[in-house]
Every structure is written in structure tokens, then in C-alpha cells.
Chain length 463, copies 2
């Protein structure tokens, strides 16, 4: 079977020179890395790391794909109403595994699957425009919020539900909704119960950014012809590969080199796929890495203000945008290439009268050569980089990579001695928003932000 | 008229505390900033900064829009074949100024304009898929490369031209091509002359990343109903605003605060629009900033390895992904918000039985409140940020912002004492690619990279 591998040669000083890691340095981290592995498995045993249980929920995956198979012909359009962890995985799966112009294909070309829309913002222009292109009578909405209370999700839901009711009536709208939320609590759970709406459960011990292999990611994927069983199979394979022999554990090794690089001042982790299909995997990873590892305090409550900054890039496109900086700028980056050994198709540059050096080569050769050249150029200039190798892009390999990166994130939390599973920093912004929106109970915050804004009212610092 | 402003209050220590800039510090930079302004205008006078001349090329803008008006009804699809600076501006213009689901609208809804495709990569899957959705008989290709020799552009062009000839024949394909390239030299110029293909000139003194207001960006925009005259009008307005009184010059002030922030260790510049429409302006900016300012040596040829890292984010979406890190992580960032005072539409959250606090509010209020809350939360935690304020999104304001950021980049080059207009760092990758692709004359590079790859062949650092 196709096994995803991590090549970290170019992070080692043998290849990357002065900015690389010595083998002795890596080896001296092994005890801590083993302890991290143990700690993660202990947390799993205690039931607090639900993402590690997801690969084994094969019955649920079957249920979801069976449900989607029955329903999908009824609908022309599938809309995910969610944000952050309730949208990024859905987008990443679709971009990775389906036609890049999916929504422009005929329904027949899409093998009877619906178009997919993920309007993951509360932008009035975006939402209004979405209404221009949906045929409500043939649209299904998957409302996703673990808490069942996320403002952005509910705002969009209330608007779209209203538009839906206008088209299909007060007795039928429920048939156009699928709810994914907590098993017991929250507004969406109550609504599902009251209105008898189809619903799926997001396990309480699975955080949003670790939820792509739960119903959060699997429902929209299944409607679009992606096989959830194969995703989980890939994740299980990776789970087995990531055993207690940490030198053979790709998630542990990935975490180790990223951790060491961070303390060498490489605080920016650029994820750069050489494949258009993988571009949104970087975007999904951006949330996972930033929200899990960007923390003010460690477990001892010391102020640490740490966390690597994930950056998404795209090969070859960003060779014409970012690589100049990566090659010549500050030594503050480590690049994670995503590399595809076998693309899904081969395209040949035809012979031309120009007798150009490209002719009769394939685009496949060109993109691979550019990848290899960029990797080599970086390495030769002591710019550390590693490569996650996909034998091909499939549900099986994508499932492996999602799981590997989630597990690596958990290990990173242990290495940094922080809680990788909370996000306390977004609280202030939330309550200030409630204040501005006049929500009951947030009068203090309203006053606080209004005062702050008034203090700036006549700022001389506007030009 | 609608004037774009820069609010940098939250970069000042009065508001941002210890990580902010003191007014005295800013003022002490003014002499250097004035000198930078002078130096830029001197270079302009010498004819080396073509981007500063573009706003005044009104005749050409009229010619382009007139041409597009006549031609566009003939075509259902417009394809930009370009990469980097020959694609990012086109994408940014389209996303900012047209319907977010443009390619899904009917031709009537698009007011007779074509769909737009910008496949700015050499990915075999992407290119093959593009062929699935184009109707060649109704497609026009705008091939854009200043040098006329860019590998990625030519590879895609040769493939698409071949497919085009198969559909429309060897005598008609030329009518489906528009070439944008150098006035005199390069393969594309020769081809235009030989085959009598419509062509536009990219001025020799305009670099790719500064070319959005040249034919590079204006042709696809005009075909899609965007008014180039208005873009240039905005740019001219900004040019006048950016005068020698640098305290009133928004490009100079933006450069000054970014420069000071860089030396305070804020080496990451996050551009975060609170508007889906502006998301690709950040991507365009990413190239401008990274490629112009990421440099190994300064003008005295000292090794400096400097350059801020531009990062694109999106509000409110990235509040659920990146803001945790921005609030709690290392003090290594300055955020540039792009803020829209008046959105193009208003969407109201309807009343629901839930009696939710959101009901009867508008999405406009929600997105603005979240923006204000995030900005305030960052500032209160001494995370410096500034805001570029768009009164509304229009050709006029977008033209202003493009020009302002280009000019700010030129000032940054002067402040850093580097050449902001070259990109020597990408050369090694290019020649190694030629080597791998077997291009004549690159046998040495072929040997070099092959040897390097062999040295890693049995790397033990793969897991």
C-alpha cells in the first residue's frame, strides 16, 4: 500500500549546513520525544484525545457514506455552514480529491454529486452572492458547529434558512438541513430534536481543528463522492506506523525537527505543496498548527508567548512570489514541502516550431524538476526544509497525512509543555464582539470597547 | 471622492504600549523618509520606475477597454496564461471587483462578459481539468510574460495552443490569442509579429510585481467589465496624495511604521482584510513585499539577509484559525487590516423563534464588530496593528491601494538600502531546473544537481 513518508534530510546539518540539526542534537531529544509519545497515549487512554479514536469509527463512516449515497441525487448543491475547524477540513478534502473546477462540471460529470459551497465568513457580499447561484429547492445545508452556538455559523444559518423557507415552505425546509453538533447540548441540538432534522454527532472530546475525520469533514466529502472509509483506513495505517519506536514514527520525527528548528530561530513553518490539489491542506494545517501551539502560558502557567507561525505557499506558483525571500531573507524559516510522486494524469508539451527546450517534456517533469531545484537551491544555501512525500493523492494518503499532522501537533504540545487543545486567546475578541452587538450580559465589554474606540476618535495617526 | 486612509494609531505606543512606536522615534525617521521619497522620485525621473508612470497612461487604458468592449461578446471564456506578477494582479482585481461566484453566473448575469480562468501553475491535473471545462471555440487566451520566455507560461501556452488548434484549425487560432509582452524582444514578441497576433506592450521599466496597472492586469479586467480608466484615476489620486510632505503621505507613513516595526522584531507582516473581496489583494501584496524586500545584500554589497515575511489572512475567517497565535504567540508580528467602511450590500439576520441576540442585526454589523473587537483585543495586548481604510470597494479605491502599496515598497527599499526591483535569489532554482530538464547549455547545473540528489539517495533521514 501507498505509505506517506517524511524526508527530513535537508533539516540535518549534513545537508543544510550551519542552520541544520546535528544528529547528536536530534538524538538527545529522543527521551523527551518518547515521553511526549507516552503522554499523548496516556491522554488518549483517559479519553481526552478523541481525534485518535476517529480512525476506528468505521461504522459511523459507513453510515455517513450510505446516507450520502441515498440522498445526493436529490440535491444539486451542498452548502457547508461552518467556520474554522468546521470548514477548513471540508475545503481541503474537496480540493485534494475532486476536480479543481468541480462546480463548473455538469451533474453527470460529477457522477450525480452536488456542487459544493463553503461560505466560511460572515461577509454580506459573499452571502448575498451565494443566494444568487443556489437553487434552494435542490440545495442541502450542512450546519456545523460543535457547540451549536458559534455566532458566524448561526448568523449565516438564520439567513439561509429564511431564504430556504421562502422557497420550499415551512413544512419542508427541515428536509434540506443536516445538523452536525454536540450529542446533547447547544441550540443546534435542540433544533434538530424539535424539528426532527437529520443530525450527526461531533464527539465532545474532538476539538474543531482535529475534527476533519469526524462527521464534520466526512458528510460533505461523502456527498461529493469521496470515500470516508478510505480516509479512515489511511488514518489507521498512520496510527499503526506512529508507534512507540519514535525513530520510526513520522509524526514524532516531524514534531522533533520542527521543535528543534523553532529553538534555532526558525519560527516560521512554510508549508509548500507542489500540487494545486494540496493547496488547501496547507490552509487546514495553518489552523491546526497556529491555534494549537500559539500560547501565552505553559502548563506551569509561566508566560512563554510561543508558537511557530504556519505559512501557506504553493509550488511552483510561489517560486514567482515567495522563494526570493525564502532563499535570501532572514534565516527564520523551515519549509515543509508536500511532494507528490505520481500525479493523477500526464500532460505533454507538444512539439512546436520554436524547437523549445520544453517540447516533448511533460508538465509532470517540469513541476517535479522545479520542486527538486527549489529544494536543492534552499538546501545549498543552508535553508532547512523537509518533505512529506505522497506516493499519490488519494483518500488513503490524505487520511494518513491528516492524522500524522494532528498527532505531530499533539507531540509538539508536549514538547513545548503547553496545552495544545485550548484557545484562550480568542476569548477577548469574542466578548468584545458581543459587547458591540449589544448582547445581554456584555454591557461591561460594550463600555470597555466603546471607551477604547472613543479614545482613538481624534487620533492624529491617520493619513 | 472616496479617499483611502491609513490609520496607524495602534502601532504607536500611546495605544499599543511597549511594543509600539514612540512619536519621537517616528519623527526621527522623517529625514531618512524624506530622502527615500526624493530618491524614489529621482529614479522615476531617470525613467527606471515605470510603475509610477502607469497611472498616467490613460490613452492606453482607453484603448484596452475599447478593445475589450468590442471583443468580449465573442468569447465565453477568458484564460490568463501567466504566473507570478503576470497573474496575481489579475486575480486580485477579479476577486475584488466582481461577483464571488462569477464563473457560475449566466453570461447575461455577467453582462455579456466571459468567465475568467487564471491557471497560474504548471500542474498536470490542473491543466488537464481546465481543458475539461473550456469551449475552445469561444475561448480567448491572454499570454502574459514580460520577457516572453517564462518556462511556466510557455509550457502551458504550448499545450493550450495545441488544444486550440485541434478545435479551431491552423488558420484561426491566432484570433483566440492576445499577447502581452516586451515591445521588442522575446519569443512571444516574435510570435506576435510572425502570426499577426494582437499584442500589447509591457513597458521595459515595469517589473512583473509592479505591473498590475499595465496591460498585464488591465486586459483581463476589461474583458470582465472592470473599468481600467477608473483604476488609473484612483492611482493618480494616490500619486498626488503621496507628495513630498511625508507626514501626509500614506505610502511613506506605511513604509515608516513597517520599517520601524521590522527593527523591533516584528518581522512578519500579516495582511488581514475584513472582506472576502479583498482576500486576493493580500496575495498580490505578498509577492510585492516578499520579492522586493527579501534580499541577501544591501546596496553596499554587505550581506544583510533581511526582509519582512508577508502573510495573508482573512477576517473573520481566520479569527477561527490564526488570531489565537496573533494574540498569544511571539511578539513577532504587525497586522495590516484592510477595512471596508461600506459594503456593497446589506444582509439582515431575520427574526427567529430562538430570540437570538443576532436577530435583526445585519451581517454588516457583525463583520464590522468582529473586526473592531479583534483590532481592539490585539491592541490591548500590545500587538501592533494598522488599518488601511477603504471607504468602499471600487476601481477607484483599489487603484489607490495598489499604487500606495507599490510606492510604499519602493520607499521600503530605500529605507532598507536594498534594491527592491531585482530578484537574484531565484536564479539558482531556475538554472537547476534547466539542468534537470536537459536544456542545452546547462550541463554543469545538471551534473551539480544530480550529484546532490545522489548524495541523498540512501539518506537515513526518511521515516
Amino acid at each position: 500500500m501507498s505509505s506517506v513518508r517524511v524526508d527530513f534530510s535537508n533539516c540535518m546539518s549534513e545537508f543544510a549546513g550551519g542552520h541544520g540539526i546535528d544528529s547528536a542534537e536530534l538524538e538527545s531529544l529522543y527521551p523527551k520525544l518518547s515521553a511526549a509519545h507516552e503522554a499523548v497515549h496516556q491522554k488518549k487512554a483517559q479519553g481526552s484525545l478523541g481525534f485518535m479514536e476517529l480512525p476506528y469509527k468505521t461504522e459511523e463512516a459507513k453510515k455517513i457514506s450510505g446516507y450520502a449515497k441515498k440522498q445526493k441525487a436529490k440535491f444539486d448543491d451542498f452548502v457547508v455552514i461552518g467556520i474554522g475547524g468546521s470548514a477548513l477540513g471540508n475545503i481541503a478534502l474537496q480540493t485534494a480529491l475532486n476536480h479543481p473546477y468541480w462546480n463548473l462540471l455538469s451533474k453527470k460529470q460529477r457522477k450525480n454529486c452536488p456542487r459544493l459551497f463553503v461560505p466560511d465568513n460572515v461577509d454580506p457580499e459573499l452571502l448575498k452572492s451565494l443566494l444568487d447561484v443556489l437553487n434552494m429547492k435542490k440545495t442541502v445545508f450542512n450546519v456545523i458547529s460543535k457547540s451549536g452556538t458559534t455566532s458566524e455559523c448561526l448568523a449565516n444559518f438564520f439567513i439561509l434558512k429564511n431564504a430556504l423557507i421562502k422557497k420550499v415552505g415551512i413544512k419542508k425546509w427541515q428536509e434540506h438541513i443536516i445538523i452536525s453538533t454536540d450529542e446533547k447540548k447547544g441550540y443546534l441540538r435542540e433544533l434538530a430534536d424539535k424539528e426532527n432534522i437529520v443530525s450527526f454527532t461531533i464527539p465532545a472530546n474532538v476539538g474543531g481543528r482535529f475534527s476533519v475525520l469526524s462527521p464534520v469533514g466526512l458528510i460533505s466529502a461523502s456527498f461529493c463522492g469521496i470515500r470516508p472509509e478510505k480516509l479512515l483506513e489511511g488514518a489507521r495505517y498512520m496510527d499503526r506506523k506512529c508507534g512507540s519506536d519514535i525513530v520510526k514514527n513520522p509524526a514524532a520525527i516531524y514534531a522533533a525537527i520542527q521543535y528543534l528548528m523553532y529553538w534555532k530561530g526558525k519560527k516560521i513553518n512554510v508549508m509548500m505543496p507542489y500540487s494545486q490539489a494540496l493547496k488547501d491542506v496547507s490552509d487546514w494545517f495553518r489552523q491546526l498548527w497556529a491555534e494549537s501551539l500559539g500560547k501565552k502560558t505553559n502548563l506551569k502557567n509561566d508566560v512563554v508567548n510561543l508558537g511557530p507561525t504556519p505559512v501557506k505557499a504553493l509550488g511552483v506558483t510561489d517560486q514567482h512570489s515567495q522563494v526570493q525571500l525564502y532563499i535570501e531573507g532572514p534565516y527564520d524559516k523551515v519549509v515543509t514541502f508536500l511532494s507528490v510522486e505520481k500525479y493523477g494524469t500526464t500532460v505533454t508539451v507538444p512539439a512546436t516550431k520554436a524547437r523549445h527546450y520544453l517540447e516533448k517534456h511533460t508538465l509532470n517533469e517540469l513541476i517535479k524538476s522545479e520542486e527538486e531545484a527549489t529544494r536543492t537551491a534552499l538546501t545549498k544555501q543552508s535553508r532547512p526544509n523537509c518533505t512529506i512525500i505522497f506516493p499519490e493523492i488519494s483518500e488513503y494518503t490524505i487520511g494518513q497525512v491528516f492524522y500524522m499532522l494532528e498527532l505531530a501537533t499533539a507531540y509538539m504540545g508536549e514538547l513545548f509543555e503547553i496545552n495544545a487543545f485550548d484557545q484562550p486567546g480568542v476569548e477577548l475578541g469574542k466578548v468584545l464582539t458581543y459587547g458591540l452587538m449589544g448582547r445581554d450580559g456584555f454591557e461591561k465589554e460594550k463600555k470597555e470597547i466603546k471607551e477604547f474606540l472613543i479614545s482613538k476618535k481624534n487620533s492624529k495617526y491617520i493619513v
